[in-house]
């Protein structure tokens, strides 16, 4: 599953057989095994209710696993209170203490550790310089913008050099432009300081931008842990294929399997060749997954032979600036998206009959949806 880590660093955190239930009936986290390496930026990605935040809270010490053990630097920490874990955390709404100034907020983790005064001052000063907010040291959190509060929260979580930093959807409250800027800043901090970061988000583009590895959560189970490009190119199941990036789905039945490839008969007629990724064998139903940018539209009448050539009807075209989308009706899927060069959509008339084609290696046969 883990594609090509060159230097496997030792695991800083190990989740071992973790289960968590709140009501004694439903498992929010089902049997989690996860290693987090020193110095890596790992993102727990998944829809709400998938167990990613619960996993983070168990690591922080605010929730206790129902079963299993968590190890931090080789020590079991299941029953260790949060304040002894030496884990910095950035919260969803920053949780900056409103009655303290920015400098006092950043000094807080140092002062509860009884650091001497000169040292506190020096480290708070350098933290403020790091986030470029020296001039705002004596403001209160309520007087700062969202982005500034976010930076302070970050500085506060980093100033005591924790062995691990947790971030719980820290950019959720910011607008898009600021969010993208902060993503880069956090990524840069991670690289320059060499810290280990566990980041929780439901935003897949955020995960792709920042992470060394992404753990995709669904239904209390880690569906796949991999590097961002591997997740995109080689999803192990339909959920991951759907959740990461855009994706077209075609339902069908496996006819024959030949090593890595298989022939699939589509439910609406026609057959295609696809890579056999997650199918149980001939006769099983499957969902085919094709990325929009891997599809070519062939105007009606032009004679081109290809293994995967399906008739399609143009429903709509959408212009998006840097690219355009064609919405087609292909084999019963009326929202089949094809990514085009900007301008290419002009030649497509609504209701026109065309063909779509894609390479067999770009078409993945996955578990049925």
């Amino acid at each position: 599953m883990e594609a090509g880590m060159v230097t496997p660093a030792p695991a800083l955190v190990r989740f071992s057989g973790i289960q968590k239930t709140y009501d004694g009936e439903h498992l929010v986290v089902k049997n989690l095994d996860l290693d987090i390496r020193k110095g890596e930026f790992i993102t727990l990605l998944g829809p709400s209710g998938s167990g990613k935040t619960t996993t983070l809270m168990m690591l922080a010490g605010f929730e206790v696993p129902t079963h299993g053990e968590i190890y931090l630097s080789g020590r079991p920490i299941k029953n260790m209170p949060p304040h002894k874990r030496d884990i910095g955390m950035v919260f969803q709404n920053y949780a900056l203490f409103p009655h303290l100034t920015i400098a006092e907020n950043i000094a807080f983790p140092l002062s509860v550790r009884k650091t001497n005064k000169a040292d506190v001052e020096e480290r708070v000063g350098s933290a403020l310089r790091m986030i470029k907010m020296e001039t705002l040291a004596h403001r209160r959190p309520g007087q700062l913008s969202g982005g500034q509060q976010q930076r302070v929260a970050l500085a506060r979580a980093l100033v005591f050099n924790p062995q691990l930093v947790l971030m719980d959807e820290p950019l959720g409250a910011l607008d898009k432009r600021l969010r993208e800027q902060m993503q880069l800043e956090i990524k840069q901090l991670h690289e320059t300081m060499g810290i280990t970061v566990v980041y929780v988000t439901h935003d897949q583009s955020e995960a792709l931008t920042m992470s060394d590895r992404i753990a995709v959560f669904n239904d209390g189970i880690v569906q796949q842990i991999d590097k961002p490009d591997a997740l995109y190119e080689h999803p192990v199941n339909s959920f991951v294929a759907h959740f990461i990036g855009e994706n077209n789905v075609l339902a069908g039945t496996v006819e024959t399997v030949d090593k890595d490839y298989c022939r699939v008969a589509l439910a609406a007629g026609g057959t295609v060749t696809a890579r056999a990724i997650n199918i149980s064998g001939a006769g099983a139903s499957t969902s085919l997954s094709v990325r929009p940018e891997r599809i070519t539209i062939i105007p009606d009448g032009s004679s081109s032979d290809g293994p995967n050539r399906l008739p399609a009807k143009v429903q709509n075209t959408i212009y998006l600036g840097d690219h355009a989308l064609a919405v087609l009706d292909v084999s019963g899927n009326a929202e089949f998206m094809v990514k085009l060069q900007p301008g290419a959509h002009d030649s497509l008339t609504h209701g026109a009959n065309v063909f779509v084609t894609f390479r067999p290696e770009d078409c993945l046969a996955l578990d049925p949806v």
Partner: protein, 420 residues
């Protein structure tokens, strides 16, 4: 429309624009005022008016002036060093004869008796014995014969000091001060000096009750603010339940519980903890217990609302940053509840200052607060001047406290307050 827009930036049209703005805002202000007018009028007649009237009575002093007008006029230019001259005696004699005829002598006698014990006897005996106006030039001698007190300077300074129309007499009395024969302000004789210790006692009882309410109310408010809504609503009903019964009933319930044959003493006796019943009521203990019980909701509710506004994320953040629970409470939670602590304490303290029924029912003689004496002077002895003066001093102290509190709270808001 377009013309107005085009000339909008012109200096000459700026003034009309401002005036238009003022006019528009004035209409809104008038409307707002009209809406609150009924309440304002109501408050004026039922609240501001009576209070102002009451405060006025603390300095109002016209009884002697009305009954003995000639004497007051004759004493206006008396230097007060020796006995007044014959003219003043004649004026007094004439006033007494007139007052006796109209039956108003008791009004002046009552007022003068406040200032000088025994003045009532002096005045009534003089009135009784002065059958007719004395011969011209013999008034001094005649009055001196009827009552030797007329030969004393203090008798005359008392009349002069009570001649009004306004006086500091009652306010000074409320602070245990009097004017002596020479007009200087001195401490009242020890047997009359009770009000300063009374104010002290009132403040000490109020402070104790406030402290007790804070100690008992803080955990309850914390529980209310942190429990899931269903259970916290149930608890909230229990907190508010006392409001559904009358103050009198609640106070009397404490008498039943705490008296020497009451529930508490019987239980303790049955458990073998005590042999003799403890004295739990008609003393300071009973007053504090009953008042704390009655005032507790006024502490819990402001505390609850300030705690409700504190996100649980703060405590989690403090823990994740390495603060043990108690440190996190002390440095993160407690400071954020300060506005609630301030509001609750001020509310309880001010309410406690004016408490009357509870101490009157469950307190002993040494536990009566200032309100008891205000009520006493208003209803029993009809010494409205002193009652008003005590009320005025209490009101002043309360206003000062409220101002100090306001300053503290304002300082807090400037430095962050409840934002975020």
């Amino acid at each position: 429309m377009t013309d107005a827009l085009l000339t909008g930036g012109n200096a000459s049209t700026e003034v009309p624009l401002k005036r238009r703005l003022r006019r528009a805002e004035r209409t809104r202000q008038v409307k707002a005022l009209a809406l609150v007018l009924p309440l304002l009028v109501f408050l004026l007649f039922t609240f501001a008016g009576p209070i102002a009237g009451m405060l006025w009575r603390a300095v109002d002093d016209r009884e002697v002036r009305q009954v003995l007008p000639q004497t007051v006029a004759a004493l206006a230019d008396w230097d007060g060093k020796d006995l007044p001259d014959e003219k003043a005696y004649a004026a007094l004699a004439s006033d007494i004869v007139a007052a006796r005829a109209s039956g108003t002598i008791a009004i002046a006698a009552k007022r003068l008796n406040y200032a000088l014990n025994g003045f009532r006897t002096i005045l009534t005996s003089t009135a009784r014995n002065l059958k007719t106006m004395p011969e011209p030039g013999a008034a001094k001698e005649t009055l001196g014969k009827i009552n030797a007190a007329w030969r004393e300077r203090a008798t005359w300074t008392t009349i002069r000091d009570a001649s009004g129309p306004i006086t500091g007499f009652y306010l000074l009395a409320a602070l245990d001060l009097v004017r002596n024969v020479d007009g200087a302000i001195v401490a009242a004789p020890p047997d009359q000096a009770i009000y300063r210790s009374l104010f002290t006692r009132t403040f000490i009882i109020s402070l104790s009750v406030t402290a007790l309410c804070l100690i008992l109310g803080f955990p309850v408010a914390y529980l209310l603010a942190t429990l899931p809504p269903g259970r916290s609503n149930l608890l909230m009903i229990f907190v508010l339940l006392p409001f559904w019964t009358s103050l009198l009933v609640r106070t009397c319930a404490w008498i039943v519980l705490l008296q020497s044959k009451g529930v508490v003493n019987d239980s303790l006796h049955w458990l073998g903890i005590i042999d003799e019943p403890l004295r739990l009521i008609y003393n300071r203990f009973g007053v504090c217990v009953a008042m704390t019980h009655v005032l507790l909701p006024f502490m819990i509710l402001p505390l609850y609302s300030s705690m409700k506004a504190i996100s649980p994320a703060y405590m989690r953040a403090a823990a994740s940053l390495g603060a043990p629970p108690f440190t996190a409470f002390l440095r993160i939670y407690l400071p954020q509840t300060l506005p609630g602590i301030g509001a609750g304490s001020l509310l309880v303290f001010i309410l406690a200052l004016g408490y009357y029924i509870t101490p009157a029912l469950v307190g002993g003689a040494a536990d009566q607060m200032i309100s008891y004496f205000i009520a006493l002077y208003t209803t029993e002895t009809a010494n409205w001047g002193l009652a008003s003066a005590l009320g005025a001093v209490l009101l002043l102290a309360t206003i000062l406290l409220a101002l100090v509190y306001g300053k503290l709270v304002q300082g807090q808001q400037v430095t962050g307050g409840m934002k975020n």
